[in-house]
C-alpha cells in the first residue's frame, strides 16, 4: 500500500508491504524500516522499528493524525484533494485570528492598516496568569483589530484580521 502524508507542509510518501504476520516493511524516502506493532488500546501503539522500541499515542480526526512520540506532538495530514486546494486558497486570503482562551488584552502592538510579517506579534493577551504575544500566521496587512487595550475577551472572539 502507498500512502502520502503531509507534515509541516512537506509531503512524505510511505510504501507499506506486509512481509509476514505482524512484520511490515515501510519505505520512507530512500530508507526501509521493518516494523512490528502491538496495539495496547485503540490509541496506544507499541512500535518496534528495526528493533527499536517506540511508545506512541495516535488520534485521528478530520483527516489528520495527531501522533505523540517521546513527548513531541506531530500533526500528520492525510489531505484529500479538495482540502488541499482549499488550504492553498485560504492561505492567500483574509484570515480571522480568534482566541481559544479568554483573557485580558495587555497591549496592542500594531494598528489597523499596518503591514505585518508572518510570525510578527500583533497584540499581547494575558491568560493563565501569563502574558502571551499573539502573532500573525501570515504576512499581509492588518485589516481589523477587535478588542481595545485593557479590555477582556471571551474564548472564541476575534482578535484581528490579516489579509
Amino acid at each position: 500500500m502507498n500512502i502520502s502524508f503531509w507534515l509541516d507542509n512537506v509531503e512524505f510518501r510511505l510504501r507499506l508491504e506486509e512481509k509476514k504476520e505482524n512484520n511490515i516493511q515501510v519505505t520512507l524516502g530512500q530508507k526501509k524500516y521493518l516494523v512490528s506493532t502491538e496495539f495496547l488500546s485503540a490509541h496506544e501503539l507499541l512500535l518496534n522499528i528495526n528493533g527499536k522500541i517506540y511508545n506512541i499515542i495516535i488520534d485521528f480526526n478530520s483527516s489528520c493524525y495527531s501522533v505523540y512520540v517521546n513527548g513531541r506532538l506531530f500533526k500528520i495530514e492525510k489531505k484529500s484533494a479538495s482540502q488541499i486546494l482549499g488550504t492553498q486558497r485560504t492561505r492567500l486570503r483574509k484570515r480571522d485570528i480568534k482566541t481559544s482562551m479568554p483573557g485580558r488584552i495587555v497591549k496592542i502592538l500594531l494598528q489597523e492598516g499596518d503591514t505585518v510579517r508572518e510570525g510578527q506579534a500583533v497584540l499581547v493577551l494575558e491568560a493563565m496568569k501569563m502574558e502571551n504575544e499573539i502573532k500573525s500566521p501570515q504576512s499581509g496587512v492588518i485589516k481589523r483589530i477587535g478588542p481595545k487595550a485593557g479590555s477582556y475577551v471571551e474564548g472564541g472572539s476575534l482578535l484581528f484580521s490579516v489579509e
Partner: protein, 503 residues
Amino acid sequence: MKKMFKKVLVANRGEIAARIIRACREMGITPVAVYSEADKKALHVRLADEAYFIGPSKPSQSYLNIDKIIEVAKRAKAQAIHPGYGFLAENSIFVKSCEKEGIVFIGPPSVPMEIMGQKTHSRQKMVKAQVPIIPGTLESIKDEKDLQLQAKKVGYPLLLKASSGGGGKGMRLVSRKEELLSSFQMARSEAQSSFDDPSIYAEKYLEEPHHIEIQILADNFGNIVYLGERECSIQRRYQKVLEETPSPFLNANTRREMGEVAVKAAAAVNYRNAGTVEFVVDKDKKFYFLEMNTRLQVEHPITEMVTGVDLVKCQLEIAAGMALKFSQEDIEPRGCSIECRIYAEDPENNFLPSPGKIVHFRSPGGGLGVRDDNGVYEGYEVPLEYDPLLSKLITWGSTRPEAIQRMIRALSEYQIYGIKTTIPFFKRILLHPKFFKGDYNTHFIPELEKEEDGSGEEEKVAALIAAGIKSYTESKAGPPLRSRQKESNWKLQGRLRNLSNRL
C-alpha cells in the same frame, strides 16, 4: 509540649494543595480542601478528607476571598490555614483576619511579611542588619530630577524596579543615559497598573548574574537554620523554569556565608516559618540580597530531596508552636537534586498557554530518585483560570550527572497527551553542553532560544511510520473501496501540487 492541629484548611489548589494535603494525612491531621467552580473535580479535592465549595472560578471570588475562606475554616472547625504559595500566601490583611478570628496562619506574622513585601523597606532593613544589598537607592525615586541624580550615583547599566513589585513587572534595564527618562516613565506606569503603586527605585545591574536562594526555617524560640541553596538562574521572562541544588557555581565557602547571611536577614525581621532569601550572585561570586519570599517556595522539593527534611511538616510544627527538631549541624545535604516545572504551554509556539483535557497521562514519578509533584490526572481538564503549572518533576542523584541523566530518563517516560507541555523544551536544556558542565547564568535561556532546535528527526520518522501503520491497519479492517481511494491520492495530490504551484 504543644499539640499538633487536628484539622487544617488548605487555602489553595493544584499541586501545592495536593502536597500540603498529603503532609497533613501523614501527620494524622484532617486536611480540608476548598474549591471553586472550575475545580469541582480537581486533584486536591479528590485527595482531601473534607472539601468545601467557595465560589466562582475567578480567584478574587474564591481563592482570594478572605471572608469566604475564614467562614469555611470556622464552619469546618479548622484550627489553622495553610496558604500554599500565591493567592493569599503573602497577604498581610489575611494574616490579620486569621489572627482576629483565632485561626492559626501557617506562615510568618504580619509584620515581617509586610517589611519583606515592600522592596525599599526591606533594603533599608537589610542594610541595618549588615546584609549586603545590590548597590542602588534605598528610597523610591522622588521625581525626574532625583532620577538623574540617583542614576549618576548608581552608574550604568542599571535596573529600575517597582518598590512594591515582583515577577519582572514595572522593571526596566537602562544601558545608557539617553534611555533613562522614557524607561522611568514606562516603569512607573506599569508599576501603577500592576501594584497600584508607581514607586520606583534604582539598582546597579550586575553582569552575568546568578539567582541563588537560601532556604531557611525559623521557629518561635529564636532557632533559625539554613538548608542549603537553590540555583534558580534558568529563567524565562523572569519566571523560573528549572532549579537545582547544590548550585554548580558556588563553592563551600560562599555557600556557608550565604546561609549565615540568610539567617541574619530572617533574624532582623523576627521571622518565623519556612522562608527563602533570594540573592543575586555576580560572576566573582559576590552576593547581594534581592528579596525574601515569606512562604513555601514552588521549588522547595529539591531542598527536601537532599536534606531529607519535609518542609511542609516543619511549617505545621512551627505554626503549632513546636521547636525545630534539629539544629544547623544536623543538616547535611546529600547528593544533588533538579526540578523541572512542567507547564501547559507550547514551547514550539512561543510558550502560549495550552489548557484543555488531559486525554492520556503517565508519570515517571515513583522510580528510584524520581519525584513528581503534580496536580493533575488522566481525564482532568486543565482550567483556563489559573496558573498553567501541571507538574514539578524532581530527580535526585548521588552526583550531578546522575541527577541530570535520571531527569532525562524520567522526562522520556513522561506522557501527557491532549494538551501541549514544556517537556520537549527541558530535553533541550538538559542535553545542552553548557548546562551539563554547570556553566550557565540567567542569560542561558534567552541564548538557548536563539539556537536552532535540531532534535526530533528520529521522532518524526517514528510518527510518520505510526500514522502509516494505523492507516494500513484501518484499511485492512475497513471496506476495500476506501483503501482504493487512498491509493489514488498519490496521483491526485501530484496534480494538486502542480496546480497550487501555479496559483
